[in-house]
Symmetry: C2
Subunit: 342 residues, 2 copies
DNA sequence: CTGAAAGCGCTTACAG
DNA sequence: CTGAAAGCGCTTACAG
């Protein structure tokens, strides 16, 4: 099976009556090409349906036309959203997106970053989504000579976009407090082991600050660790119900944790908001369905925004530029799982 | 920022004391290389941490080391699962995966398949996930000179893996019938407009056949079209409740449709299984949570299986080979939304 | 079994 | 503003 014969830069040069080199420059919008030459080249290229060979371009030192997205997993709702949004931005800018899932496994993460020098030659940039990097890995990435951007990462020497996690948690907790609850528990995300993702820490901090604003302190018994999943939330809630004591309101670190909590409640013949108010963070589509009060965060927007920052760097490689952090707004969505304490 | 200096095939040749050409052959496990040469090359390559430049290999006519996954969308639960499973297989075989989402837009699909000749030079193979292709597109793909495999597609000249949709629907419907229900409605997926995805048609057929097995026929009023989403299911169920009449049991074309139906029920002060039994297809993680009876289908397995078939073709390109279709088993999971009619 | 040579299709200095 | 030449790092016939 022969592959379809494709036009080469040579064909464009012949048809336009110019040299390969001028064609190359014209096609890449480089300076020092006359308007008439530019026009002829564009015309010839269009007629031939010419597309540069990315392999040849890459080998000769040009761009690869690909951007890698590295995510802790590709299946979680948050990441699927962010990945698709970024992919759209990349595709519209003419880039292929190479998807790399760490599959929530440290061993895979280790392998990916060990082989970074191999990846570097295959892509022009890397978009990191909430990847918990060690300082060594951060250094590796930032010296790889690629454009880099990320979503939801901290203290990192490249552009990042995320939300203010402390504030989001503060909003959620304050909502509970404003409803008259003073007996609060938190189902808290696992502290990260790396150094570039501090989401759980920040959210806990927001919880504590909201309490402090009401002259309340965090009760150790009312801090239960749950990995951010339905099952994790269910387990944490079970623990709270059976081994500790039920507070009147709960802040769940994310919506999926809240779903699990709701489930555990039901298994014990309890329900929300009757027996306990619950608020999460995310605004997962199922939250609407389940009537979960939550803090909305724009997920696709974060992916798209970071992707656009990356494209900007790629297009203005030499523009001097300090790493920036962009925080998108979150918003309380009151539904049915929170109500006034009585 | 200079990219890290990488070892080339030249370096390996010098260190091993052999020619570039022998190194190339040894590295690719081609015949006509002595054991001792193979050994020396392996050693030198390991010492240098050598990795072939995929750009150079590709340009010279070798493989690209990439495989494209094309999916209708990357955000739906089903596709996120299948994509991650396939990505794992590809990564373990040393391939990058290029993710292409059609974003559920015909215009994007058109663009992707128009530009197929450009994509062809960037990847060694294509994995299609439930992509509803026109005959022209099928022809385009199958003559592209690439390895191709798919999930959930029909009448297609390459390997496919899926489930028996007619049987799955039959299982679901028979479950309802076995519980004594004879007054059934179906929330049916939209008929596809292309020619290579017949999931909705097959599922409707299974529904009809199960009824026929009990000497029952499909009542037109009890066939409601719903696109496979929560919102679609909700709308369809609303239609059923307000403009038609409520049957005693419902087969929803997929779990997300069933979720929407459950929601509509609740909005009307009704509930399942009290007022109506509901069964879906998928075994979405939320189904467990909501107690939805459903037909389980292995999703990650389908993605992984198809990915492996693709890798096989890539590794044995000349093995004569008829396109095969592999059907994985489905299984009824009884939970709380279905019960005996009274 | 092994190697010298040509070439894949671009880009990058370097002259003009 | 334009072009001839070299070279990116591989693979593929073709000799030996």
């Amino acid at each position: 099976m022969a592959r379809a014969q494709r036009a080469t830069i040579q064909d464009v040069a012949v048809l336009s009556g110019l040299s390969i080199c001028t064609v190359s420059r014209a096609l890449r919008n480089l300076p020092n090409v006359s308007e008439s030459a530019r026009h002829k080249v564009a015309e010839a290229a269009a007629k031939l349906g010419y597309k540069a060979s990315s392999a040849a371009a890459r080998l000769a030192g040009g761009s690869t036309g690909s951007i890698a997205i590295i995510a802790p997993t590709a299946t979680a709702w948050f990441f699927a959203q962010a990945v698709e949004a970024a992919e759209e931005v990349f595709a519209d800018s003419g880039y292929d997106t190479v998807l790399i899932s760490l599959r929530n496994k440290p061993s895979v993460q280790r392998r990916v970053f060990n082989d970074l020098s191999a990846l570097v030659q295959r892509v022009d940039g890397i978009l990191l989504l909430n990847v918990d990097l060690s300082p060594a890995e951060v250094a590796l990435v930032s010296t790889a000579g690629l454009a880099v951007a990320s979503v939801g990462m901290d203290a990192v020497p490249w552009d990042d976009v995320g939300i203010n996690n402390e504030n989001a948690a503060w909003q959620a907790t304050s909502h509970l407090l404003d409803l008259g609850h003073w007996d609060l528990a938190i189902l808290s995300g696992k502290e990260s082991t790396g150094h570039s993702v501090s989401t759980p820490t920040d959210r806990f901090r927001g919880f504590r600050r909201a309490l402090a604003d009401h002259f309340l302190v965090v009760h150790p018994d009312h801090v239960v660790t749950a990995d951010s999943s339905i099952e994790g939330g269910r387990r944490a809630m079970m623990e709270l119900i059976t081994h500790r004591n039920l507070p009147s309101a709960i802040f769940a670190d994310c919506d999926e944790t809240a779903f699990g909590a709701l489930m555990a409640l039901r298994e014990h013949g309890l329900s929300s908001p009757k027996d306990v108010s619950i608020v999460g963070i995310d605004d997962h589509p199922m939250s609407w369905f389940l009537g979960l009060s939550t803090i909305y965060q724009p997920v696709a927007d974060q992916g798209a925004f970071a992707a656009n920052l990356l494209i900007d760097r790629l297009q203005n490689p030499d523009a001097a530029h300090e790493p920036t952090q962009h925080l998108l707004n979150t918003k309380l969505i009151e539904r049915k799982t929170t109500r006034r304490k009585r």
